[in-house]
Symmetry: C2
Subunit: 395 residues, 2 copies
């Protein structure tokens, strides 16, 4: 089968979550991604983990999650030899991605203008926390801070809880998708016109965009959302939309007509709440009334009765339950690859199914500098020249 | 300025959040998006809102949020005339997107195989909750249910809280970005090879992908995350990563070295926790100890002292505060457009900054069937033919 991005070369200066996730999405579709790392320590995400757990005893799950389908070239970026190598790579590459703070790449001689001189067709994407300039440009930008600044933490959880961030790197991941959106549309444009360009992404704008419909309310009405005092799952939503206790766990009851819910719960009194205003104004009261019914039976009991009425309901699963979900198995949602030190590594599969150009995992996440020699040979360096570079500490 | 996707025609059968957000991203970059709606009611998102608030008294903020830069053609899709019109549009379009349940488009005669016969270069994307087949294929799929099934709700909030969903449509929005990722890479591939293809997206796989690093832990270790009993903001993270009370609000204290934090808080005792194992095992204790200091002064007081040490910290803003953020103003994060019934509508700007092909808002979200006549004329229908179609109820 073909690969959608076969022949595309990516010069990847990214680290941590956001940038590496973006370039991994390109690698999954066949792009040749060369990950430029600091000699020695490499991407600082290699030293990051959760639960003090290391896959195979040594490898970071965080790093492994976002670096498959790449090759690693580890250099001392401050040497003139490294600069020469980077410029050689820039001559033939299509895409550059970086997520340093503003000004760092320019100082190294790797800004857009530097590369444009070498290769005017280049598409160069910079991603930062808050943009290249402005009052926050020098502030550090990191996912949790962007969640906090964007308003997102005021939408989740209950009224009496402190602002509640999502327990995943949502700003970083939306940043990654916006990088891909920018790069692929620019690639199409370049095919049509021959012109490269510079892209700028910032995490703050990405997370504001994620709240397009919540901002549609606040920007135009001047009103803030108020979080519910119950498990209603969106601060602008009416009952029953939420997660309810059952006799043995929880059930998700999304948007559903009250008469159907009243029938299945055998609670005729629920019908008295059935108008839009009441279902919003008294959503907490309705939530707790519904929950008085749901706690009396198991999740399986309710699911069967609700799904046969085509209600919008589901189980609430933890990660082990989700791993063993029958639909996930049917989809091939999880897969694995071999890694030189971590052994067999299980991971989540490519999200998009392509009829002609399926994505897949052809390379394990690279060790630091794993492809130094291979990449330098492709650039025309001889074995003895590579030895010299090792000797003087370039690689 | 050029538009990255100028000349690209999108036949858009989507509704609610996910699909419309995806096609809006294409429209923002200049694609000609024709939104096919049901005659009469149109996209059911037009009837959806929050806080019982309607922009200008009549327009749904949810619908407006995701439908700029499109034209609307409202048809009775079950008539043969409507089918003929759709097939005519398919002859010259590049992209088809739909997010009905499996089988609906095929039943209407609008499946991939139908369109492929008319236009083999077409790129056709179907998005569903759980995929086109398998044990859940007939289940309704909606954002909150996907959050619940994917494990996501077990990552957010505190240990004693019920599973806590994010208060935005995260599955839908990641679904939208994956549609864009699939379509734009396919568009590039088609430029190279002339070949169209069929794409399938499902929300469950998108939200599993969002948890790549959390699954990297659970799939390989068999261990589940446990949510903290404090405001630590990720269940796998150590202190201090969280949102802390201050004398007048909250402050976000992300990843930061304990010695620096001990110094700025003037709490030398904090240093005794400074090793990775303790900062995870005793994260709740550390959290509450830090908070004992932060509550004594205002957010502004701490921000000044912490930012001057280049610590990873920020304010915690609600949507009105975020709207008035100085960096947001500098970025031009918000913008507005005129709408025929809603008046001036404020919204969030395009997330990616392009040097050569900037995105912008050139069309307000259309009224139902607003472009019926314009689009039919482009297809070659005469004024009297259009009148006949109105008369017999096609449009």
């Amino acid at each position: 089968m073909d690969k959608a991005l076969a022949g595309i070369k990516v010069l990847d200066f990214t680290h941590l979550l956001q940038g590496p996730f973006a370039t991994q999405m390109l690698g999954d579709l066949g792009a040749d991604v060369v990950k430029i790392e600091r000699k020695g320590l490499g991407d600082s995400y290699r030293a990051w983990t959760f639960l003090n757990y290391w896959i195979g005893g040594t490898e970071s799950p965080c790093y492994l999650a976002f670096n498959r389908n790449k090759r690693s070239l580890a250099l001392d970026l401050k040497t003139s030899e490294a600069k020469k190598i980077i410029y050689q790579l820039a001559e033939t590459c299509d895409i550059v991605v970086e997520n340093f703070r503003p000004g760092v790449m320019e100082k190294l001689g790797f800004g857009y203008e530097d590369f444009k001189k070498i290769n005017p067709r280049i598409i160069y994407c910079s991603s930062t926390g808050y943009g290249q300039d402005g009052p926050y440009a020098k502030r550090p930008g990191q996912d949790l801070m962007i969640q906090s600044l964007s308003g997102l933490t005021t939408l989740t959880g209950t009224k009496d809880a402190p602002p509640t961030p999502l327990g995943t790197g949502i700003a970083d991941q939306l940043g990654a998708y916006n990088i891909v959106y920018g790069l692929l549309s620019s690639l199409y444009y370049r095919e049509k016109t021959g012109k490269g360009q510079k892209l700028e992404i910032n995490l703050l704008q990405c997370l504001l965009t994620h709240q397009l419909q919540e901002y549609a309310v606040t920007l135009n009405s001047g009103k803030l959302f108020e979080r519910p005092q119950s498990g209603i799952a969106h601060p602008g939503q009416s009952a029953p939309f939420g997660i309810y206790k059952t006799a043995d766990g929880y059930i998700c009851i999304s948007v559903n007509p009250i008469p159907v819910l009243a029938e299945v719960l055998e609670d005729d009194g629920l019908r008295s709440y059935d108008d839009p205003k009441t279902l919003y104004d008294k959503r907490d009261e309705v939530f707790f009334r519904i929950q008085e019914s749901t706690v009396k039976q198991t999740t399986a009991y309710w699911l069967e009765r609700m799904l046969e009425r085509d209600m919008w309901v589901s189980e609430v699963k933890n990660h082990l339950e989700a791993e063993n979900d029958l639909q996930a198995a049917h989809l091939g949602a999880f897969t694995s690859y071999e890694h030189p030190t971590a052994g067999t590594v299980r991971t989540v599969n490519v999200p998009v199914k392509f009829s002609e150009t399926p994505g897949d995992i052809v390379r394990h996440p690279p060790m630091i500098g794993e492809h130094n020699e291979e990449i330098l040979r492709e650039l025309g360096y001889s074995g003895s020249e590579i030895e010299v570079m090792k000797g003087i500490g370039v690689i």
